[in-house]
Amino acid sequence: MKTTEVSTMNNRRLEKYVKAFKKGDEDTFDHIYEATRADVYYTIYYVVKDVQLSEDLMQDTYLKMIEHLERYEGRGKFRAWIKTIAKRTALNAIKQRQKETPSDQTAEYTSESAQLEKKAYTQELLEVLGEEEKEIVIRHAVLNETHKTIAEALDKPLGTITWKYKRALEKMRKEGGEQDA
């Protein structure tokens, strides 16, 4: 039961925790955090594509959420609300980095460090999938993005995304027993 709590916590229960947290119930933050951490992290990661920066921005996102929580009116959309904060935080960080880092250094970073990070990330998570398949699968299964939204974000035809998603699931199905073990 504990292992599925995050992914299966429904919006009503999440709203209850948010309401209690707004009233100063410190312990409810743990539930809110556990219910949203994957949404927050992967929303950021697929903007910045940098593991270390994503971790820093994840913390910033939760602090911004706390800062603005007074204005959150609670209409069952908390998960969408915090994902919006996460995305905005990530986009601002990219802009900031572009201002601060000369373009050649950025390119160097992308070609070396980020590639290494991506490689490690691929090895650890959903091992059987390629980088693009993994992104499609996580965007759809974790972030609940539609295939259409993913197609727009990755600039690919909708049919390609649908096909790649199905193929990725097939690959994982084949490896299913081993991965679950």
Partner: protein, 258 residues
């Protein structure tokens, strides 16, 4: 592995690879300041509320003693078509409230206006028609759990019969073999309501899952909570299980049922 199981697997894997920043957030000065500020504000907010609550309680007691002649009966009518919804219907057959019992139920009733204050018959018609339009009910998915509960047993019985008669009538043209299973056997207990909320399903589905688990050890509650009513029906077929409650006389008989 079914797609739902795959998605669960992916979410579990994805979450396991998420960095944990909870402790650093909680240790931040912003977090501490927020908690202190919120707790202080809540304390101040409560004082007048207590006084108001006491005054209101006295007023309600006086009303109950001297003004209100008798209690109005109503029943709670539950419908589960994977979205789970509830109607409160009074003895005049007027719909007092329409509520979603889970997130899908909330989404489902967003598209149905002007039910509250209208009559029960029209409400059933519009709900079933909308369920067919949105594909929640179809020839491939003809399953529906239903029941009415009330302190007034006669009223609950009448509303149950009304469902049993009206739903097949409305659905008949497009779903001639609608499969109705009665779901409740009385008011749901607190633990049933808690589990329904935890798993974002209706209380009738919790009861049905409990009944299935009494018959077989092949599944867990968590697994079956992801199943639709139709999939639960398939499980019942597979283990040759009868419906826990008899459906309407002219419904499709349950596995091993009448």
């Amino acid at each position: 592995m079914r797609e739902k199981d795959m998605k669960r697997h992916i979410r579990r894997k994805a979450k396991a690879h998420t960095p944990d920043v909870k402790d650093s957030v909680k240790a931040s000065p912003q977090f501490r300041a927020f908690i202190e500020r919120s707790a202080h504000r809540e304390k101040r907010r409560r004082r007048p509320v207590y006084a108001l609550a006491f005054t209101s309680l006295v007023a309600v007691l006086l009303l109950a003693l001297f003004i209100i002649p008798s209690e109005t009966s109503y029943s709670q009518v539950y419908l589960e078509i994977n979205p789970s919804i509830r109607l409160d219907v009074d003895e005049e057959d007027t719909v007092l409230a329409l509520k979603g019992e889970n997130d899908d139920g909330d989404a489902f009733i967003e598209h149905i206006d002007d039910i509250e204050g209208g009559d029960f018959d029209t409400a059933i018609e519009r709900i079933i028609e909308n369920a067919i339009e949105t594909g929640h009910l179809s020839e491939d998915a003809p399953h529906i759990l239903y029941d009415a509960v009330s302190d007034d047993e006669a009223l609950a019985g009448r509303h149950t019969q009304h469902l049993e008669q009206r739903i097949p009538e409305v659905a008949q043209e497009r779903i001639p073999d609608i499969d109705m299973m009665r779901g409740h056997q009385g008011r749901p207990e607190a633990d049933v309501i808690d589990r329904a909320q935890d798993h974002d399903i209706g209380v009738m589905r919790v009861r049905l899952i409990d009944a299935i688990l009494e018959e077989t050890d092949d599944y867990t509650f968590e697994e079956l909570a992801d199943y639709s009513v139709g999939e639960l029906r398939d499980v019942m077929d597979a283990i040759d299980m009868e419906s826990p409650m008899p459906g309407p006389p002219d419904s499709v008989p349950g596995p091993g049922g009448p």
